[in-house]
Structure formats: C-alpha cells, structure tokens
C-alpha cells in the first residue's frame, strides 16, 4: 500500500517536472511542421538565393535519421564504454586500467573529422563510418564516468557485500552498478548531447543527418539552409539533454 502511494506521488509530480523537455519537444515538432511554410521569414535572411527552404529531404526524415545514427552510436558507446570500465575495475582486469583510460581520452582528442577521413577508406561513405566516429568520440565521457562511479564506491560497502557472501556478479549488479548509476548516466548524457551536435559532420561523407542543410548551405552560400539545420540540431540537443536532466533527478 505504502509503496503504491509513493509511485502515485512520483507519477503526478514528475509529470509536472517534465515540462521543460516536453516544451523543447513541442518546439522541435512545431519547427519541423512550420519551417517549410516559413518562406517569407527565411527570404529576409537570404534574399539573394533562389530557394530559401531546404527541400531535398523533409525535416522529419532528417531528424529521424539523425536520431537513429546518434542512437545506434550511443548504444554501442554505452555498451563498450560501461563494459570496458567494468572489466578494468575487476581484480582480474586491473592491468588494463591505464590502457583503457588512455584509449578513451585519445578518442576524444582525436577530431571527429579526422576519424571520418580515416574510416572512409575502410568503411566507405555513408552511415557506418559516421557511427564509428561518433562511437569513438562518445566513449570517453562514458568510460570516465563509469570509472569514477565504480571507484567512488565506499570500500566498506564492498567489503560488507563480499563478507555477506555475495558473488562477484551479484555485487556488480546489485551493489556497484546501482550505486554508480547516477554518475554513469551523467556520462551518457554528456556523450549523447555532444554527439547530437557532432553527428552533423556525417553529412560530409554522405550520411543523411541534420548536417545536410548546413553543408548544402555552406556550399551554396545559403544562410537560410544553415539556419534551418542549426535550429533543428539545437532543439533536438536541448530536448534530449533536458530529458536526461529530469531523468537523473529521479535517481
């Protein structure tokens, strides 16, 4: 009974609390809907261009594709990043800790454009090399935060867990990951938000993303195109980031 009341309370209050991400989502959907009809406004920005609304693909397709690319890349980065951090914090994997920490930070210092340039010869043009670049780029915040979260757990809690006779797997699932969860989610949030912006460069090698209008705008000197891509990317990033913010408060 008591527990149910708790769920109800969270349900009502959190609906309220979610208004920020919801507002960004509404703004995003509204923009997708009305920008194609905003010819008059965009004409002001780019008076010299023949066309002022990007129409090669409709915006919804671009947003969906953009999200899919970021989503797949993030899932891979989360699996690999959390997995690697877990492995190197086990007693049998500790030797690899410096290596993994270093690889992850290299992934971040390496510019994504360079990753793209290097992966095209291997994976060809299109979506796959883009995803690979995003995975590499998004790994560091996840690995780093998972390491911080796992290493920050009170040694006495782990001693007690072992002392009570929990197995290594039970300790990982029931104690370590839940206690580190908040920090891990913060790392995922950073990673995903950065990659929503970074994914746009995938358009330079032929992935269909919200970078398309931007690239087209740069090539044709069309500021209106650039603006349309930028607005959608910004709204998408804000929507996802504020959702994470809400989510991490629930924890």
């Amino acid at each position: 009974m008591k527990r149910q009341a708790g769920v109800m309370r969270i349900g009502v209050s959190s609906l309220w609390a979610w208004w920020v991400p919801l507002a960004w989502l509404v703004a995003l959907l509204a923009m997708i809907q009305i920008m194609p009809d905003g010819e008059d406004i965009f004409r002001q920005i780019a008076p010299d261009n023949r066309s002022v609304i990007y129409r090669r693909d409709d915006f919804l397709t671009l947003v969906a594709n953009h999200m899919a690319i970021v989503g797949v890349a993030s899932l891979v980065a989360i699996t690999a990043g959390v997995g690697a951090a877990v492995v190197v914090t086990r007693s049998w994997g500790r030797d690899f800790l410096p290596l993994v920490a270093q690889l992850a930070s290299m992934g971040q210092t390496f510019p994504p454009v360079a990753v793209l340039a290097l992966s095209v010869p291997m994976l060809g043009f299109g979506t796959e090399p883009t995803i690979m670049a995003l995975v590499l780029y998004g790994l560091l915040p996840i690995v780093r935060n998972t390491l911080v979260g796992l290493q920050g757990i009170d040694a006495d809690v782990l001693e007690a867990a072992r002392g009570m006779g929990m197995s290594a797997i039970q300790i990982l699932w029931q104690v370590e990951l839940p206690l580190a969860f908040k920090v891990i989610v913060a790392g995922i949030r950073t990673s995903v938000t950065i990659n929503i912006a970074t994914a746009a460069i995938g358009s330079t090698i032929g992935a269909k993303t919200l970078g398309d209008p931007i690239i087209a705008g740069i090539i044709n000197g069309n500021t209106a195109y650039i603006l349309q891509g930028a607005i959608l990317i910004a709204l998408l990033a804000l929507c996802v980031d504020s959702s994470f913010e809400r989510f991490s408060r629930l924890l």
């Binding site: 009170d154 006495d156 809690v157 001693e159 007690a160 072992r162 009570m164 929990m166 206690l179």
Partner: protein, 316 residues
C-alpha cells in the same frame, strides 16, 4: 568451533599474522585485542576467507575452511564491521534481509525474520523498516549492521570493532544488548576491539595480539592477575588494573547480608544495586564520602550492605 593452527598471513614479505594458534569453543565470546596494525582484522578476515591464509590451517567444526566454497562459507557466518558497510541504496529491511535472500528463503519467511530481528535489536519495525541507511544515527546503523549479521541465524559471528565509532553511552547500551543476546543465542563469536574495557566486559576469553602474534590468552581475570609481560600489563591499564578488576566483579560477591536489626539504622545510606560493579560502589563511596552502602535488589528492596573494608577482601 573455530580452530586456528599455526596460521600466518603474508602481505608481500610482511607478516601481518605470524603463526597464531587459537581455539574458540562453540558458544564462546572470544575478544581479540591489541595495538593498531597487529593483525586483528586480518585474522578475522581469514576466518571467513575474505583473504586466504598463507600458512597453517583454519578449521570450522573440524573441517578445513579451504574445503568450503568461500561464498557458501561466508553466508554461514555473520560479519559486522565498524563502518557498518550498509548498502546506501537499500532500505533497512532490505539490508537486514540480504543473506536470507542469498540463501533463497521465501519472501514471507524473510519478512518474518527481518521483523523479528528488528525487534530483537530494539529497532521499531514500523518506524525503521523503510528508512534508508543515511537516515539512521550511528547507533541505529550499528544495530542494523548487527541485525544483518544475525539474519540467517549463523552459528558463528565475526565482529570487527562493531561499536567502534559510537559515543560511550550508546556503546555501553549496545554492549549490554550483545551480552543479553549472547546469553540467549549462544553464538560462537570472535570480536575485535581495541577498547580494553569493552574486551573485559564482553569476553569469555581475551586474546592479546602484538605484531601478528598472540602474546597471551585467557579469561579477563587471568589477564588482569597474571599478565604475561609488560605489554599485556600496560594494555590492561597498568596501575588502573585495580579499578578494571573491580569493574568486573559484582557487588553481590562481596556484600554482607542485611541484619534485620540494623536495617532501620542504615536506611539513610546511599544505595547500590546487587548487579552493579564494585567499581561503581567504590565511586559512590568516594562521592558520598561514606564507608558503607546499602545494597538493593533489582526491585529496590534492601538486601545487604557493602563496606569499604569489604572491598579489600578477595572475592570468593
């Protein structure tokens, strides 16, 4: 029964524990004392195989602990530590129910057991069951730690400074409760402390360690009267031993039965309980500047007298 035979533990090339032999009989409360770093915790953690011993044998009920699976062994032993190590993301009830859950008890049986333990340790179940560890005071957290250690009703209890971080009053309360529990449950307990008074109060047997070795073991009385060397003597408080000894003896052992003819005349004397210690009696005499006390039973009835010169007799 726990037996250690010539057990050693090496960390690198350092002997943390150096060839100790020790037998803890079933139902015995054995207290390990010694200076910091002398290997008390290491000894305890070897018994439940949190760390493996480097040499010698450790036997539980005659069986080598290496013949057991480590996890199975640990689920059979209660383990309580100073910092409690409660899981911060679990409620009190869930923390206490951990080992029964690991042992796959039914939820109903676990809940029943948790409630029983909370009552046993003076934690009102309705108030505390759903609290999180962060909401508990130090003393309450220690109780939960002890309850968790007792949860699956283990025969053996390993306690590493379980009352270490508490104020003297709470600590004394918990010590009394442990003694009360022990008189009922008769567990085999290995208890680590570096508080000598705690050791003297709780122990059936005290084991004094120094630099990884056992210097002396025996009953509190033996240690007080026949300390093996200066180290043990100073650990026991040196010249303070007289008071420590008095702290171990009940008033009842030295009091004179009440002479009904004199009861009236002595009615004004300060009173002391039969179960109080001689140390307390002496303190009362010093405080009230008097040479005799009225001894009262638990329900407050006068049952005898205790005079200063009685304190100088040796206990029968």
């Amino acid at each position: 029964m726990i037996e250690l035979r010539e057990v050693s533990k090496l960390f690198g090339r350092e002997h943390a524990v150096d060839g100790i032999s020790l037998t803890v009989a079933s139902g015995e409360l054995c207290v390990l004392v010694g200076t910091s770093g002398c290997g008390k915790s290491t000894t305890l953690r070897m018994i439940n195989r949190l760390i493996e011993h480097s040499a010698g044998q450790i036997l539980i009920d005659g069986q080598q602990i290496r013949s057991f699976n480590g996890q199975v062994l640990r689920r059979r032993m209660g383990y309580a530590i100073q910092s409690t190590g409660l899981f911060p993301h679990w409620s009190v009830a869930r923390n206490i129910g951990l080992v029964p859950r690991l042992l796959k008890w039914t939820p109903a049986r676990i809940e029943e057991r948790v409630t029983e333990l909370m009552e046993l340790l003076g934690l009102e179940p309705a108030t505390f069951a759903d609290k999180m560890p962060a909401q508990l005071s130090g003393g309450q957290a220690q109780r939960v730690g002890v309850a968790r250690a007792l949860a699956a009703d283990p025969d053996i209890l390993l306690m590493d400074e379980p009352f270490g971080a508490l104020d003297p009053i709470t600590r004394e309360t918990l010590q009394d409760e442990l003694l009360r529990l022990q008189s009922r449950l008769r567990k085999t307990i290995v208890f680590v402390t570096h508080d000598m008074d705690e050791a003297l109060k709780l122990a059936d047997r005290i084991v004094v360690m120094n630099q990884g070795r056992i210097v002396q073991q025996g009953t509190p009385q033996t240690l007080l009267h026949e300390p093996a060397d200066e180290f043990v003597e100073s650990l026991l408080g040196g010249a303070d031993r007289g008071l420590k000894q008095a702290g171990l003896t009940r008033v009842a052992t030295l009091m004179q039965p009440l002479d009904p003819a004199q009861a009236k005349a002595k009615a004004d004397l300060p009173t002391v309980g039969v179960d109080d210690s001689l140390r307390l009696a002496l303190s009362l005499m010093l405080w009230h500047r008097c040479e005799s006390l009225m001894v009262t039973s638990e329900d407050g009835q006068p049952v005898g007298t205790l005079a200063f010169h009685d304190l100088l007799r040796t206990a029968p």
